[in-house]
């Protein structure tokens, strides 16, 4: 009888029952809009499929509780929001971009952002989260203009002791990544507009 109950419990997905399911708010802070100003450019964004489902079960240390970080579901809306704040004319492709579409809508650059890795540096007194992404910038003829990688990290103490602590720490790591990505992208586009790149 006991084994049947245990099998039923574990078979139903014990990992979902036990541990931390960490969903970030998925919103940028007010400082982001204050720090990042728009540049005059018409930029389209394409988000590869599967990004929104990106999650990590990296629990940091062997002794830690199981943790599931739902990164994609927060990253994608925050990425869209960062482009709303970062460029004057922002378009999102919900179909595969083509050179014809780029020409028709007079889009200067196509940007593709992908999550590459996520690391949890949980330690005895706190937690550090690293989000690695790669950004591709394409010309209107869809030839590669530039490719760069970004790391955004957030490290804080006593994260798990606070209500919403791990969630806000994850949000902060994503925002750090997007800050760096957008700043770097803006520099690239300004250089390209000036013809100095």
């Amino acid at each position: 009888m006991m084994s049947v109950v245990l099998l039923a419990v574990f078979g139903a997905g014990c990992a979902a029952l036990f541990g931390w399911n960490i969903h970030a708010p998925g919103l940028l802070s007010e400082e982001f809009a204050q720090d990042i100003s728009k540049i005059p450019a018409r930029v389209a964004l394409y988000i590869p499929e599967g990004q929104i489902d990106y999650l990590s079960k990296d629990k940091g240390t062997a002794l830690s509780d199981p943790q599931t970080y739902y990164i994609g579901e927060a990253y994608v809306p925050m990425l869209i929001e960062s482009f709303q704040h970062g460029v004057d004319e922002f378009l999102l492709f919900e179909t595969l971009p083509t050179t014809e579409l780029m020409k028709r809508y007079a889009i200067s650059y196509l940007v593709v952002c992908e999550i590459k890795d996520f690391k949890n540096r949980k330690h005895y007194r706190g937690q550090g989260l690293d989000l690695y992404t790669e950004t591709f910038v394409f010309n209107p003829d869809l030839s590669l203009y530039a490719r760069f990688e970004t790391r955004g990290a957030s490290e804080a103490w006593k994260v798990f002791a606070k209500k919403g602590g791990p969630e806000v720490n994850l949000n902060h790591a994503i925002e750090s990544n997007l800050r760096s990505m957008m700043t770097y992208l803006q520099d690239l586009l300004i250089q390209a507009q000036k013809g100095t790149a």
Partner: protein, 198 residues
Amino acid sequence: MRKRRELLRMIVCLFWMTGILHFPLKANEVIPETQSEVIVREHPQTGDPYIVIKAQGDEGREDLHFGQPQKYSRPDYEMLRSSVKPGDVAYDGPVSSRKKIYILAASLATLGTVSGVAGAALFPAAAGTTASGSGAGLAAGVAVTGAATAAASIALNQEIPDDYVREQESRLLEMQTDFYQRYVAPHQISPVESNRSQ
């Protein structure tokens, strides 16, 4: 005669600009039908509109439809300061609740299935709170529970820095290069280097 021509040209230009007399300009390149349409969507949480290009007659990407909007307040990262106590900074976002762990552990304990080290290893957090496990189980529970760890660390070390840390960096991996830079320049040996190698 010349004045008449100039006047006629001006009138034609004026009509063309105002759209009354509109003749198509010969395009440099014919743009084929793209079978696309432009719609406006609203950001799921902020409500700010943005432009979407999608295939004509298609619903668009399902994974980018965020469903019902969730109105959370923007996060305040002051919460991450170690001196800020839980509840000092308002937060209405999602929370990972561990109540279900306790419920599960309690239900298992009631059934008499949680006992000794095995039970604590499977449910360390629950073992520490329900006190149904053995002494070894309780110790394991305190060691791995996030909240308990953080609380213990305050007593152990008072020199925890107050501020939280943000790190960000971007690194260029590849830049647009032409044929010469990609295939010829890397193989060219400067005269100085060639002399040295000899």
